[in-house]
Symmetry: C2
Subunit: 209 residues, 2 copies
Amino acid sequence: MKKENISDAVIRRLPRYYRHLNELCSRGVVRISSHSLGQEMSITASQIRQDFSCFGEFGQQGYGYNVEELKAEIGHILGVDNDHHLIMIGVGNLGHALLQNFPFSQCGFTVDAAFDVSPAVIGTAVNGVPICSMSELDTFIQSHSVDVVVLTIPQTVAQDTADHLISLGVKGFWNFTNIELSSQVPDVQFENIHFADSLLTLSYRIANR
Amino acid sequence: MKKENISDAVIRRLPRYYRHLNELCSRGVVRISSHSLGQEMSITASQIRQDFSCFGEFGQQGYGYNVEELKAEIGHILGVDNDHHLIMIGVGNLGHALLQNFPFSQCGFTVDAAFDVSPAVIGTAVNGVPICSMSELDTFIQSHSVDVVVLTIPQTVAQDTADHLISLGVKGFWNFTNIELSSQVPDVQFENIHFADSLLTLSYRIANR
DNA sequence: TAGATTGTTAATCGATTAACAATC
DNA sequence: TAGATTGTTAATCGATTAACAATC
């Protein structure tokens, strides 16, 4: 890693690069220049080179970038080759959908368990992930290393649940409730999927097109 | 509306303002200054006033903003008082979860129908929304006004489906597949929910904290 | 009236783009 | 070697913050 402070704008572009490089790989493309990549992604070649140069020198003058190699580098930066451990809290429709379809392992995550209050699902498993009772949550966290908690619970209990988890040492949250979580505890990271915010921006754009 | 070109950065903050104002409303707060609002939301008062001033003059010197009124104004800008019509394509786990739990009507959307290929769900209804066969899709679109299509389908068919819908005149897409959709047709709007991109940025941050 | 707070203009800061020497 | 393309420095552009006159 070269620079100390990478801006959020850069970080949020990395998964898109990674996605596109995966596609190039599967198309059998071996090398690509910042110019071609930029054209395909509607980004300037300058920005691409600037972005990459935050993390190292991955190209070669006169040649460009080796697709496979660059993909591996960016994957590494994003941590897809890590083995992060994750649990889910709340196995309703959405939690269920994620357990069933989301490629956690491709993102470097292992889902160790899911927790819910409903007796109907406790004791069952979804896609190999055991659904446990919320009463087992504290013990589980104390005896396992949990990097990220997926919050697919009702809004009403979201902040309280997060506070409790933070007090148990959890530092990463993937938050699907449409509220703004916060914490005074340093180093706690929230990543939010705000469905409603997303749809409202679309609503704005279709009305002001 | 005052200015012509509102930047994306501003537009993406609007739903957050709206959300916070709703909360203030339900807490019974009647008025608020840009300074207090900024403190609560961790935004500078300057930015708040700049953002609002893109759309009009909603405050009063010496007083601040009336919460209820400001909420209504921003809601109006975002179009929550519109009656947009929406259909969903793909009623798997995720589509099902959205139909069941997402407050479409609070965002100004009516869900008129959902479409799927699976005979198991065709003919049923989820939360009052009828699930139709994909074979009925073209006729439906031609006979109804459809502002937004929710794409909760497999990645593999996403771009083809989108292209087909665009040829039928659809201009708005709420895309849940983790691919970058695009179109040459002008005025077509894509709003993406890229779950994997989101989790990967979290992965980056927990590794580089 | 005096104090508070707006909307807006000006200043600053950061991010994007352009230019170019280095070099494969 | 000549052409292509990098990584990086400099220039530009846009977004955020600060300042302040207007005024409730």
